[in-house]
């Protein structure tokens, strides 16, 4: 075939030469994006009416006069003009037009051309996200948009990421942006009722997403007034494109593994170290270890041997972690006529975690359709059905789970290494609720991870329908009415079975807890839009509408304990005790009326304003309505005559100034009924009870955020370099806080929701998009985005009453105080280890140095000269900020011929992380330790950072109360993804394939950081505003390698 074409071309060329006045030119037009042939490209002779367009494979032929130039043009690509000369074959590669300004921005209730848009928004094209081994699109946004900071809490599959748009938006309310999918706001919190993580955003197949628009300032977001305080993520799914049906098949498969696991003591090191610590302890307190728990030599940890005589030395990482395999497949068909377009997709994802027994599966189908029924009626329908299945063992890595006794993240490092997981007969090594101690005389403290991993069953499964029906009526020229009804129905089934042998089910003799949640969420939006252009230059647009939403969630469940027979491994088996558990009903309703007005004059001056009145059922009835709105101005300087007269030519192609101000609310009140004082019903023995269980606040009102944005768009060298810069200031007032109450008042939960605080975020954002090289088919495009953020709490209940927050309810780690950014690490300062006696030195607030001697009795705490003093545990000070002060991404794409290479870096810094896991790794109880403890103090004069090891000491290492020795800087630079793709050039049209691309991708390939914990991107407290930047017993992040293929038919 190819040969045939070639000879035909040659022959035609010959013919044209013979005739000499006209010339037949042939060739192929390809796209610089992927090298594929581009159909429908207009090819015309300059200065003549002659023209044609390329065929489906991108080839063309045209007969032109000698010496003319051919112009190749296509929407979305830069036109190219090529002089024919004497050539008869001209192949052209068109460059995608990287002028972002020509694109549209999806904003509330509609779209706007970017050149008319005067707010601050970033658009992320979702194509690259779909290729990443992530569970939800939200995880893939890292480093993609300026001012959007994403933290993946750890490597647990489908753990919801922490997303912050322009810093922290609230303290007690969610700082997670509002997520709107094709018009309907959907819930974003983890919906698992057990220790699995179930991010409902994973119900959306990332492959179905066309683009994600992040609305960052109030002027853009105010149209979503009630819940836009934290920014808005607008997700637009793919729709059918007019033309014959196109099929694409996208698949990837890959492996992942845990990285940066700490080095812990092996069996021999462990026995030596712990027995040494016991000797030190007995010297202080003869009862430190009871006589029955040590041998005649005062040793409690004794060697154990395998049947072959070798020392048992267990690598617990092997029991807990694995190299995991994942795969993901998508099939889409889209097409349409001039009246009807359709998009259909089916997706399947099956991902295993590097944490054993951790997996994620999604099966999804989507059908989107647009139909122009009549000239005045257009119908839109979206239908998405999905099932996601999350499975995870107790990992200690879900928010709130850091101190779970059977959390595998901690057990993997802390379990006793001279004990085996299995006995020689293959059975589990067990003793009560822990690993069997064998020859050791002190019991282990944690369960056998192999049992927890194998026999517990913990899952959370969503079955979800998101459907949407919209109609657009053209009532008259310029006037359209739109109505859109969306229904988001989610059933979540949470299953938890704790085995009776070891772990959380041991005490109860087996424990099963099932819960099901039914969330019914509907949203109805009606708008009326009028567009008018007067005198060709005055463009008006007015929108009025209403938006109502109601979400009702019903939970029911039960807990069953004490298995009748260990034969049963399910909730449905027979148990002795049956309890009600996991029951709840709540609902939230929103009602809003909105109006928006925009005007521009000749594409030069832009003005827009919007207003919205919002009601929220979660606020008190007197205060539930709030008024919000914003306004913005824009001036496209480059459209001015004077600018054009400057004749900067293509040096500065575009220059635009913009400013906006607006006020939005934050309606994500954590308690749907916070304004009510209530009594809860319970039991006393078998008698029913009523007890005061919530002090409500009848004055609860809107938390508001006043946001200012000033920005500049400028592009150089024919848009080859584009810069967008913004300054933002978010002033948040009437913060709704769980105001701490003196416990002696006996207020349930010791807190009352009230509007008491204020804070601000300010900073700069810079996004530079450039094409540094575009030469001989070699193209390098790059995007650098960089943002700064300064968060400052300006008022709380009062200046002296900070908010203290505990990690997983146990360890007070964080403080939010006026005059500081939120969620500072709060603990006691230390001054190293006293070389004289090996004791940790602590520094009180007044600067006094005191030292700790574990089991020292009345002399446990002494001044450096040996006088008894009190514990410094209440001498906490603010130690460091946990919110990054700068962050961003550096994304590069390099193309040459069929090859493409993507290198995406992310970076973040200026923050501290409390490495609480390190405290655990240096704890002198039965837990295994980091190899750091080999440097523990042993002889007078020894200078070391590890105190003398005294068995049982949990103070010197920082387990008992937080110390600054476990505080570290969190700056990092990561190679987030590296992708190498190749488009197979072979022409496969004969077998019906239009293109094939294969790629290999590495995620988290390289990390530069001084942080010594598992990962500087960590959040053991999940999405918490008040306790960010804490690492406590979490599993690490993974590194993954995937191979993928995209096939177009």
């Amino acid at each position: 075939m190819k040969k045939l074409v070639l000879s035909w071309v040659l022959m035609m060329a010959l013919v044209s030469t013979l005739f000499a006045q006209t010339r037949q030119v042939t060739g192929k037009v390809t796209s610089s994006e992927d090298g594929s042939g581009m159909p429908g490209v207009s090819v015309s002779a300059k200065g003549s009416a002659k023209g044609t367009s390329t065929a489906a494979d991108g080839t063309y032929k045209i007969v032109v006069a000698d010496g003319v130039s051919l112009v190749f043009s296509f929407v979305g690509f830069n036109s190219q003009t090529v002089s024919v000369g004497s050539r008869s074959v001209i192949d052209v590669q068109l460059q995608a037009d990287n002028q972002q300004l020509s694109e549209v921005v999806v904003v509330g209730y509609g779209t706007k051309k970017r050149q008319e848009f005067t707010g601050a928004a970033s658009t992320v094209k979702a194509a690259t996200i779909a290729e990443r081994p992530v569970q939800s699109f939200s995880q893939g946004l890292t480093g993609q948009a300026a001012g959007v900071n994403i933290t993946q809490p750890n490597g647990l599959l489908n753990n919801p990421p922490v997303i912050r748009v322009r810093g922290l938006s609230s303290l007690s309310l969610s700082s997670f942006p509002l997520v709107v999918i094709d018009g309907i706001p959907i819930s974003t919190d983890n919906v698992s009722a057990n220790s699995t993580t179930n991010n409902p955003l994973a119900d959306i197949n990332p492959s179905d997403i066309e683009s994600i628009d992040v609305l960052k300032d109030a002027a853009s977001a105010a149209i979503y007034g009630s819940r836009a305080g934290a920014g808005v993520l607008l997700i637009t799914t793919k729709r059918g494109k007019t033309g014959k049906a196109k099929v694409s098949i996208d698949s990837w498969a890959g492996i992942s593994e845990a990285v940066r696991l700490p080095d812990v003591l092996n069996a021999q090191q462990y026995m030596n170290h712990k027995n040494g610590a016991i000797a030190n302890a007995l010297a202080m307190n003869p009862n430190a270890i009871s006589a029955s728990q040590r041998n005649a030599e005062n040793k409690s940890f004794l060697p154990n041997y395998n049947p072959d005589g070798s020392l048992i030395d267990t690598d617990w990482y092997k029991e807990v972690y694995q190299t995991a395999v994942s795969q993901n497949h998508n099939l889409t068909i889209n097409g349409g006529t001039d009246k009807t377009n359709y998009y259909f997709s089916a997706g399947y994802s099956d991902q295993d975690g590097f944490l054993r027994s951790n997996s994620f599966q999604r099966r999804s189908g989507r059908f989107n359709m647009d139909h122009q029924a009549t000239k005045w009626l257009k119908l839109t329908a979206n239908f998405n059905y999905s099932n996601t299945f999350n499975k995870a063992p107790m990992s200690g890595s879900n928010s709130g789970g850091a101190f779970n006794t059977s959390g595998l993240g901690r057990i993997a490092v802390a379990q006793v290494p001279n004990l085996p997981a299995y006995l020689p007969d293959g059975s589990y090594n067990l003793e009560n609720n822990t690993l069997g101690r064998m020859n050791n005389l002190l019991p282990a403290q944690f369960p056998n991870p192999a049992v927890v991993r194998d026999l517990d069953k913990i899952t959370s499964e969503n079955t979800r329908l998101i459907a949407n029906l919209g109609a657009e009526f053209r009532l008259m020229e310029g006037l359209t009415a739109k109505t859109s009804y969306s229904w988001d129905r989610r059933n979540t089934e949470n299953i938890r079975f704790f085995n009776p042998y070891n772990g959380d089910g041991w005490s109860a003799g087996g424990d099963a807890y099932n819960n099901t949640a039914r969330s019914d969420n509907w949203n109805w939006i009606n708008t009326l839009q009028y567009n008018l252009t007067l005198a060709e230059k005055h463009n008006f647009s007015v929108i009025a509408g209403s938006d109502v939403q109601k979400t009702r969630v019903l939970n029911w469940g039960a807990q069953r304990q004490t298995l009748a027979d260990y034969f049963f491994t399910d909730f449905q088996g027979n148990f002795g005790t049956n309890l009600a558990a996991g029951n709840g009903i709540y609902q939230v309703a929103y009602e809003a009326y909105l109006g928006s007005f925009s005007y521009n004059y000749a594409g030069k001056y832009f003005l827009s304003a919007n207003y919205r009145r919002d009601g929220n059922s979660a606020l008190s009835s007197e205060n539930r309505w709030g008024d919000f709105g914003g306004a913005s101005l824009g001036w496209t300087v480059s459209e001015e005559k004077f600018f054009k007269d400057l004749n900067l030519g293509n040096k500065i192609t575009n220059l635009r100034l913009k400013a906006s101000y607006g006020k939005v609310g934050n309606g994500n009140v954590p308690n749907a009924y916070g304004s009510y004082s209530t009594f809860g019903s319970g039991l006393y023995g078998a008698a029913p009870t009523l007890a005061f269980n919530q002090a409500g606040n009848k004055d609860l009102k809107w938390e508001t955020s006043a946001q200012t944005n000033v920005g500049l768009d400028i592009s150089f060298l024919n848009d080859r370099i584009q810069v967008e810069a913004n300054y933002y200031y978010k002033d948040i007032n009437n913060l709704i806080l769980n105001v701490p109450q003196a416990p002696s008042k006996g207020i349930p939960g010791n807190s009352i929701l009230a509007n008491v605080g204020s804070m601000y975020n300010k900073g700069y954002e810079l996004a530079v998009t450039a094409t540094p090289i575009n030469n001989n088919g070699f193209v390098w495009t790059t995007n650098l985005n960089f943002a700064t953020n300064e968060n400052m709490v300006t008022s709380l209940v009062d200046d002296n009453t900070p908010i203290l927050t505990a990690t997983s309810g146990l360890e007070v780690t964080s403080i939010t105080k006026v005059g500081y950014s939120a969620a500072q690490v709060y603990g006691v300062k230390t001054g190293g280890v006293n070389p004289e006696n090996g004791r940790r030195i602590f520094i009180k607030k007044d600067g006094t140095k005191v030292q700790y001697s574990h089991l020292g009795g009345a002399l446990a705490w002494t001044t450096l000269d040996g006088k008894a003093t009190t514990s410094p545990s209440d001498q906490q000070q603010i130690l460091g900020n946990t919110l990054p002060t700068f962050y961003g991404g550096f994304n590069n794409t390099l193309r040459y011929k069929g090859f493409d290479l993507g290198l995406n870096f992310t970076f973040s810094g200026g923050n501290y992380i409390y490495n609480g896991s390190q405290a655990g790794l240096r704890d002198q109880r039965v837990w295994n330790n980091s190899v750091d403890v080999l440097n523990s103090w042993k002889t007078p004069g020894q200078v070391t950072e590890i105190p003398k090891a005294v068995y049982g000491d949990n103070v010197s290492n920082g387990s008992s109360f937080l110390i600054d020795a476990n505080l570290q800087k969190g700056d990092f630079l990561r190679l987030q993804t590296a992708t190498l793709g190749y488009k197979i050039p072979t022409n496969l049209t004969s077998i019906g394939i239009s293109n094939i691309r294969v790629y290999a991708q590495a995620n988290n390939l390289w990390l530069l950081t001084a942080y010594t914990g598992v990962d500087p991107e960590i959040s053991s407290n999940g999405d918490s505003n008040l306790a960010s930047g804490i690492e406590r017993n979490s599993i690490p992040q993974g590194r993954s390698f995937t191979f993928g293929i995209n096939i177009g038919l």
Binding site: A288, T577, V588, Y684, A691
Partner: protein, 481 residues
């Protein structure tokens, strides 16, 4: 066409209007599973439920349903920690407890929650005079005051210097007697220990007047306070104040002059012939003056259960068989029922002796005793020995001991000191695992022999009592003043 689109226009505007006129109820979302505070006095049944709610609050596993008792026992010399778990009291056991400890704070938090609920109930009852009959209203007031007194007394024992050391002149507790429902009044200094005791006694005197003589069932006589319960609690309070005459006066209301000691007033309290019967279902003998009931659907909660700590649940602590522990004390003979029937040499969990008073494992439904008739007898014995009749003191001591080990012959009980020592030893035997040990030491101002700390903690040592929890210090600036 034009006409048609106009119709559609009208239609769509009508649609928009429908939405706009969304009825006012649309934004009304009221709790569907909790009752509004405005409705809790609407029916007599709800008022009764509130009374039971006060008991339920006090019996929470973090307070009298478990941990309050456990932390009393493990500070002493009779128990050895097995699991080195700070979640199950290890640091308190070792004398390393700190005001930041969340479980110590739990006593304070749950205690004051109970007090506030009692305060609110008393106010609500006054504001709704017709909610129940005046008789029932008086009974309910008595119950609320009884629980408020029990809670204040238990907290002041833990968090303040013992009354006996300076007649209560030291800083005690913030004395909160008004219901709290708002953000106001975080600031409140500590009243003196004496002021707290005065309030406790006032509540108990009121309760004695207001409470019913008895209830219709043995279950209610055990799990709800009646007059004798208030009197019995007063003997405990007055003993801690060193008001021995007062103890004798109160005790005599419910203890006969001579053996066999029993109550002839109202509920006929008496020692059970077999001590182990007290700790077995249905847990409602007349010896149990006041106990907290447990049920599979109303259990103490994870790591709060007495049976989890002291028995096969998880043997967090086992009996100290060493010379300082009560297990090897000569007064606790091998023939003693309390050893033969209420301890075992080994359990399935550990090869150490454990108490089997709380023998049930999951779901841990053993009732948790709070006041037993045996305590009243020993309170009275101690008071008689201190300031009354040594003869009656010895008779009371022997009544309690003899019930479990009739063959035991006490060594010379000639002096007051001998008798008091024997009574105090008897308390360790009789109330082992019932949460008396540390309070019995501190109420007398004696040095505390802590096995966990490997030391004897003197009353002057800051470890002798618990510090005010950090959470209170952080939110109530006056607490330190």
């Amino acid at each position: 066409m034009k006409l048609f689109t106009n119709k559609i226009g009208i239609l769509s505007i009508a649609l928009a209007m429908t939405v706009s006129s969304c009825n006012k109820e649309f934004l009304n979302a009221v709790p569907e599973l909790d009752l509004s505070d405005a409705t809790v006095f609407n029916t007599p049944a709800r008022v009764l439920s509130q009374v039971n709610g006060l008991y339920g609050s006090a019996k929470n596993g973090s307070l009298f349903g478990g941990r309050y008792l456990i932390y009393n026992d493990i500070r002493g010399e009779d128990w050895v920690n097995r699991t080195t778990n700070s979640v199950t009291g290890y640091s308190t056991y070792q004398g390393n407890q700190d005001p930041s400890d969340s479980y110590l704070a739990g006593f304070w938090i749950q205690g004051y929650l109970t007090i506030n609920r009692a305060n609110l109930f008393l106010e609500g009852l006054a504001a709704n005079p017709n909610a129940v009959s005046s008789t029932l209203a008086a009974n309910y007031r008595g119950e609320a005051k009884f629980l408020r007194a029990l809670t204040y007394f238990s907290l002041v024992q833990y968090f303040a210097k013992p009354y006996i050391m300076d007649k209560g002149a030291s800083a005690g507790l913030p004395l909160r007697l008004k219901g709290s429902v708002s953000s106001a009044d975080n600031d409140m200094p500590r009243s003196t220990v004496a002021q707290v005791y005065a309030q406790i006694l006032q509540d108990l005197n009121d309760a004695e007047t207001e409470l019913p003589d008895s209830y219709g069932t043995a279950l209610l006589n055990t799990t709800r306070a009646h007059k004798n319960a208030a009197i019995a609690l007063k003997t405990r309070v007055k003993l801690a104040m060193g008001d021995f005459a007062g103890v004798i006066t109160e005790s005599n209301k419910i203890v006969s002059a001579t053996a066999p000691f029993k109550s002839s007033a109202r509920v006929a309290h008496a020692l059970q012939s077999d001590v182990s019967a007290v700790f077995k279902a249905p847990y409602t003998t007349t010896e149990s003056i006041f106990s907290f009931p447990m049920d599979a659907t109303n259990a103490p909660g994870t790591q709060n259960q007495l049976g989890y700590y002291f028995n096969a649940g998880n043997v967090e602590y086992y009996l100290n068989t060493g010379s300082i522990g009560i297990y090897s004390n000569p007064q606790f003979a091998a023939t003693d029922d309390r050893k033969t029937k209420l301890t075992v040499a080994t359990t399935s969990v550990a090869k150490f002796p454990s108490s089997t008073k709380f023998s049930g494992v999951s779901p841990y439904v053993d009732y948790v005793p709070n006041i037993r008739y045996a305590e009243v007898l020993l309170n009275l014995a101690e008071a008689e020995a201190e300031a009354g009749s040594l003869t009656r003191a010895i008779a009371l001591l022997k009544a309690v001991h003899g019930r479990s080990d009739a063959s035991y012959v006490f060594p010379a009980l000639d002096t007051k000191a001998d008798v008091i020592k024997a009574i105090l030893t008897e308390r360790r035997i009789e109330f082992l695992a019932e949460g008396f040990r540390a309070n019995d030491v501190t109420r007398r101002g004696d040095p505390m022999v802590s096995f966990g700390a490997g030391a004897t903690i003197q009353p002057s040592d800051p470890r002798y009592i618990y510090g005010i929890p950090l959470v209170e210090v952080q939110t109530n600036p006056s607490i330190g003043k």
